[in-house]
Structures are given as structure tokens and as C-alpha cells.
Symmetry: C2
Subunit: 124 residues, 2 copies
Amino acid sequence: MKTVPHITDAEWEVMKVLWNESPRTANEVIDAMQERTEWKPKTIRTLLNRLAQKQAISFTQENRVYAYFPLVSEGECVKSETQSFLKRIYGGAFKPMLVNFLKEEQLSEEDIKELREMLDGKNK
Amino acid sequence: MKTVPHITDAEWEVMKVLWNESPRTANEVIDAMQERTEWKPKTIRTLLNRLAQKQAISFTQENRVYAYFPLVSEGECVKSETQSFLKRIYGGAFKPMLVNFLKEEQLSEEDIKELREMLDGKNK
DNA sequence: CAACTTGTATTACAGTTGTAATCCAAGCGA
DNA sequence: TCGCTTGGATTACAACTGTAATACAAGTTG
């Protein structure tokens, strides 16, 4: 199974933008980011560079402009991050976490109904 | 609500030991850790110091020996870490994560039954 | 052609983390 | 009393992160 590079908090925000739509030029990414964060353009370029270095994204060059696109899917990354989270906090076991979540979190009637249906689906 | 300090991966392992039983002297912690990791005693002492500095743990002094104990509960920390994880990966929403998990993870018949019962409980 | 603009590449710099090693003080054995 | 042992305090140091600023190169404009 392919291992995805570790993506930091700040980088993750950039990835979200690219997962949302790609390819995008650096400036397009910067514009999109500035709707959600206060980061300076230079900062975002740094993050793009780092992501490219660790091969989470790549780019094509059109004249003097780069257009970036992800090399790893959101699903892969979510799964990988979730796994390390699980490992750290719950020793890797999924169910204890779920149990804890269900106990702690607020869920509406709607949510519960929906989840129950998903469980039914799983139950084949 | 009390805010818990951020506990790093390595520190988390030490906290587990103390949550498991406390107070414990540095040496007791070190012994317990060496059953699960390869870390040198000095490393573990560093972690104990850092945890004490950030007030995740404290200690009492008996002669020249410190006995450490947690200042924050495992539940608090789990909750806090889970929240930042959720925020980072799923934008803070709990349900999308659950949905994703249920789709991705392997659950036994048993697990599913148990979860369904929990949901029934919630449903009051 | 010279200066300005614009996009990229390089460099910066402090705080955090992992992973220890060295220094120091107090009790203990010779 | 003097060095050895043991536990704690201080220091180390590189990689990773957040957050940029500065330098450079190629078009664009006057």
C-alpha cells in the first residue's frame, strides 16, 4: 500500500484547496486561501514548495506559471492521518474510539437515524 | 472549560503510563516505559520534565526522589486531541468522520450489533 | 535598453519535538 | 573524609513547522 507523506496542519489547508479543484496556479491557490486564512502569499508559496518537495503535489509549467495538482487523494490522506491518530490516542483500535465518540458527542435524532441506516447497510 | 496542554506523541506514551497508575517515581516510569519502547532513561526524564513544565503532570518529593502524577485526566486529553484532529481533518464536524469511518473500517457483526445498541441508547 | 513587475527560488529564524548527553549535588561505602 | 553512585537539572542538537522576507530571472513598459 502506498504510503502518503505526512502533511502538517498548515499544509493540510493548502491540500484542501487543491483537492477541491485542481490544477490551480499558485496565485489561484493564494486567492482561495485568503478567503479562509490570514496567511501572506509568501507563506502559501512556501507551503506549496514543501508539499511539492515531499511529493504530495506536483505541477505543470505553462510559460512562467506553475499549476499545481495533488499527487495523493484526500481519502488516502484522511485514512493515513486517522490511523496515526487512532494509534496514538486509542492504541490503534477503532471501536473504542467510536464508543467514546458516541458517548461524548452531541448527535441529533437525524444523525442517529442516519448512522443506524449505515450500520444496517454494513450488516449486509 | 479547562484547556489541557498539548501533549506530543512521545509525551503521550509517558502519560499513558501515569494514567495507568500513579504516583510513580521517575524510575518506575522508566521501567514501565522500557517494556514498551526502546527509549533511554534520559529521554524519559526529559519527557517527564517537559510534561511537568507544561503542567500536564506534577510530582511530590520524597527524600531525593520525585513521584509523578497526572494533573489532567486521560478523558480530557483524549477529548481535546480528538477535537483538534476533527477540526484539522474534517473541518470539525463529527458526523462526516463517522460516516467515513463506517465506510472504511472493518467491523465485525459483533461490533455492529454493539454500536447499534449504543445508538438505541442515545435515542432515549 | 533600462526600470518595473511578477512569479519562482533561496534564505531566515524562532519554537517544538525527538532523542539524548553532560553537569552537579547529596548520600553511601571504603 | 573522598571518591562512586544515583537522581535530578541543564544543555545539546538536528529535523520539522509556522511564518515569512529577500534575491533572482524573465517579460512588459517607457
